[in-house]
Amino acid sequence: MLKVAVGDFTMFEKILIANRGEIAVRIIRACKELNVRTVAVYSEPDSNSMHVQMADEAICIGRAPSSESYLRIDRIVSAAEITDVDAIHPGYGFLAENSHFADVCENCNIRFIGPNSRAMNALENKAVSRALAKKVGVPTPPGSDGLTENEQDALATAKQIGYPVMIKAVAGGGGRGMRAAHNDISLIKGYHTARTEAEKAFGDSGVYIEKYIENSHHIEFQILGDSRGKIIHLGERDCSIQRRNQKLVEETPSPLIEGKFRDLRKKMGKAAIRIAEAAQYTNSGTVEFIVDDQGNYFFLEVNKRIQVEHPITEEVTGVDLVKLQIMIAMGEPLKLSDSDVNIKGHAIECRINAEDPFDDFRPSPGRIEMYYPPGGPGVRIDSHAYAGYTIPPYYDSLIGKLITYGKDRREAMDKMNRALSEFMITGIKTTIPFEQAILQDPNFRRGFYSTSFIDNLLGGARRELIEDKV
């Protein structure tokens, strides 16, 4: 195989995608546009999955459980070796932020498409990242310095910062491993439970304590870093619409920033870059912040991967983030600078989950009978679903993302309303009716919402949801 290499730039001929579902499809699409051949890996129940069919080659790597397939570093690297790939794209979740996996790839001469090990280690868990942010003068929520080792520590911290507080697992991610405490009793109980849960879920029982900022806004910044140390940001994403700490609807620009605190974009963008530079970050990442109602911002953590909601940034900037990830990994220097990044228009994303919103969002795997996605101008679908596809019960419930783009927020919302009402999926339950209710909520339409929005929607006055039309 002829490999083109000039200086520290190596053209990739073939990439293995160590993931599944919609993100695997997304990565394969970027590879096709870059003329790079693709290898899919899949578990036995995923043999008819879209990413397997789209890839040039596909290797079965094990049985259904992720621990026997998508998390098996040895099998994924073996698959990479027998197909002779140049690089592996880890997607999000699974092994995307596993520095050991990144190391193994490098040792086997396979490029890992993501941040290098040094950057991963500098931001290896939430507590370490908090310390790094403090060091470069970025505000963090009041809380413990380092891990909370015992009950006394926990009580002392809570006394110092005041209730309510949040007990967080240092190795947690994706909104998991957090519990709130409003007083000493719930703190003690929660502390011990949190440690046990963290050990079970993440293999690390370390926890720390932070002030729980109520009615907060989750605003994150997309960053990109190349191998020469250049780091830029591509604006923010407002991801406050969450149910049980799982994002459901995201948009950019943030209505909070646009409406009330315009100067925050520059301030927070600079803070994000400062943290990334301190970690010598490379490739794609997201710096997460919490903003309170007074416009005070606090650093939360860095997600060292491409994120689910990356399409909304792509729509308003015109930048293909996944392609850039691949090119940065090839050694290509970033041609964009901050001044080149033009944020134009407005984009909204709804995550379509196979869950029943009328039954406490119970997961709804099974066979999709009819699948008719919306279309027309300003509508984008990133999904691996198709009519006749059976959603396996072993993985997450995300079956697709519906993204709309308009010249302003009103237009993006109008298109989302239209698109949601056109979207026909039968055979399984989806969150589409719930998202229709969100989009039509007067507070959402005004751009007035915080992380308590969905709780209020579900428990408050507006209880009735749009009925299923089908």
Partner: protein, 155 residues
Amino acid sequence: MDLKDIKAIIDLMKKNAISEFELEKQDFKIRLKRGICGASGAQVDDSSGANLLPAVTQGGPAALPVGTAPTAASPGELEIKSPMIGTFYRAPSPEAAAYVEIGTEVTPENVVCIIEAMKVMNEIKAEVRGIITQVLVENAKPVEFGQPLFRVRSI
């Protein structure tokens, strides 16, 4: 015809990649058939390439047969499947004899092949008892998880 002659014929068959030989004389008939992969063309020469790499069908998703041999195992036949991803070798080294051939009787503890993964040569045990009836993968070819390697007639 004695055993020496039969062995000579078998050698000739191997050398010349002949899969079937039949000889009939007035009071004697002999038929020899080699059943390893490479001899039965369907398993190796199919248009989609090696069994483990399914062809991408143009024009929409369809259920793809993945890593399956074209003929199913008959009743009483078991399959030894690959427990890992790597490169399949029939012998411990290029000069050594293959671990098993068609007709070899195996017990669960017998090593039937090597699968090399990440520079480690893994000895794969039969885990079944019986007689090897088919070798489904060519030497030095890549295999994926769950791919059938041998067919065994249980005894």
